[in-house]
Amino acid sequence: MDLRYSESEESFRSGLREWLAEVLAKLPPKPSHLDWPGRRAYDTTWQRMLFDAGYAGIDWPVEGGGRGASPVEQLIYLEELERAHAPYVGVNFVGLLHAGPTVIVEGTPEQRARFLPPILRGDEVWCQGFSEPGAGSDLASLRTRAERDGDEYVVTGQKIWTSHAEVADFCELLVRTGPEDSRHRGITWLILPMDRPGIDFRPLRTIAGSTEFGELFLDGVRVPVANRLGDENDGWRVTMTTLSFERGTAFVGEVLQSMELLRGLRAIAQSTGAWDEASVRRRVGHLGAELDALWALARRNVSQAARTGVPGIGGSVYKLALSELRQRIADLGMDLAGSAGLVFGDIPGARNGPVGNLEIVSTWVHSFSRTIAAGTSQIQRNIIAERILGLPKG
């Protein structure tokens, strides 16, 4: 076990750090959360900067146009970006982290040439059309129907939890091409151009009051057969291949961001006098120990991925532990906030620490989605029990 970085890793880090220091200052001001064109422009500008500097598709293989960085370099990349407060992947999330990697593995040469470079350059934005109102944890029960009509599929159905659809050029879409009850065996993966007629989008308001997600309504939307990834009815396998891209680095940014949040809460406690309470200090210490442990687990997962090509025991264990820990950190924030926690916003004149009241309250409200999104904690426990511990299926 070695936690020291090699010379080449250190040099990757210092190069990246220098570049970040230089370019971040040049970024335009961050647009409002409600300004979708502004967000697309901001996020894709950042993506273009990464591309020009050779950091686009850090985890993509070189043959896909990516940097092909090692898992450890990916970790360093995420760490440095987080530490420098660089922009998040934003609207490029689906293209860079999901659709692109799938096209790399499953796409035809034509599809790869057509779709990959614009993702890397930030020219085109993707969204995801997987979940449906009736198919959440049970994705294989999806019902959006695609009927073959000549060299097109005609797609009708409804998707939910689609993010960035407001500004997306393409949607990675799972549709049912097999019989209604064909489950995993009758699903096909399509690339849906978002400018087709018959697409309607309705934003979903979250409990935080924002509209990060939405519902996608598809009514007789025509998609060229050439936009199919893999074979008809083979979409489930196509989808699963993306998972093999995971290098244990998911949520790494979140751990580091949580550490910064906890340090901010510590500073607040010190400034308000709450730090005089042993119980507050112990809560901070306990949460800090858990975050340190998860940071260690992240490095373990990455190391395992580096050795074997697949991350280890990590994914579900890490996700489960982090999402629940995140909620407890958020609870501490709200306890420290006291009555100010009733205000969903910053409070002028109050507390000028590194963590504002808005961040505390917003973190708390968002924390409830941590144990739901990307597989509920209940599903994660099933996965751990069945896939890691080998307990029999229900």
Binding site: G209, S339, L342, G349, F368
Partner: protein
Amino acid sequence: MDFELSEDEVALADGMRRLCAGRFPLDRIRAAEGERVVIDPSGWSELADAGVFSLRLAEDAGGLGLGTAAAAVVFEELGRALVPGPILASHLAAGLVEGAADGKVMVGAVHKPRAHGAAPVVIEHLGSLGALVVVGDDALALLDPAALDAVAVDRSLDPLTPLWRVDHLPAGDAVGGPDDAARWRRDASVLGGALLVGLAAATVDLAVAYAKERRQFGKPIGSFQAVKHLCADMLVRSEVARAAVHAAAVTIDQPDVGDALRAAAGAGLLAVEAAMANGKTCIQVHGGMGFTWEVPAHLYLMRARVLADELEGSDTLAELVAERY
């Protein structure tokens, strides 16, 4: 000894539930989300006419002359229905503030800040208030809300509890001494606890209904043990807290049967925890839908957080119980 609800108490609860269903159905309540006034004077009058504020006031003072147990039963229904407004403070102020009991004046309350220069004071429903009670450690004081230099808060955690903040809270006119302040806190713990128990119980119903209806993997999600056990724990929390709140209320009415201060503190403590934990669990049982504004699960949680702030802090309540155990 009969700790079941009496016929009168059942009738009170039924009446209040009917009033809420007719006058305050959820969609009508929700229409006021984000507004600066969330309950109109006519709604307030109806609550007053039903005795919500005057219930414990002596008959010769214009009240119903009922006890805290009766009030707890009524407040539980108000909590369950998510009825907004400064209900708890207005009730506690009946007899203390002119017009509170008959609903002519909405009365708010705020804790007197313990430390100077601390965070600004946050006041609920200020724009609707005719009077504001400042609850200090040893005294109750009265302020004229209109005279406050208050700033409206853009957005509240609970969209049905509009907020204002003031940087400086004047001392106000004394209207009560240490005993009154102690009684206010004790009764707030019990009746705020009753509102919270109502919230906690409502989320059980909401979660269970969804778990029966929502299907995944070919069956209702409520047939999976993981979901079943979340719901079972919700019921345990709400029933245990409910028993505590009822016992505390009865103990206030029948002081010989126990230590009302200890019972009240314990009831408030458990009611806050039940409502908060159940609100979170209700969101979890709803999965992604629970994270949407449309599903009301979050409203119960946010209201619970508001009410928790109207009570003393959980640490203080726990120490109160410990001291008297």
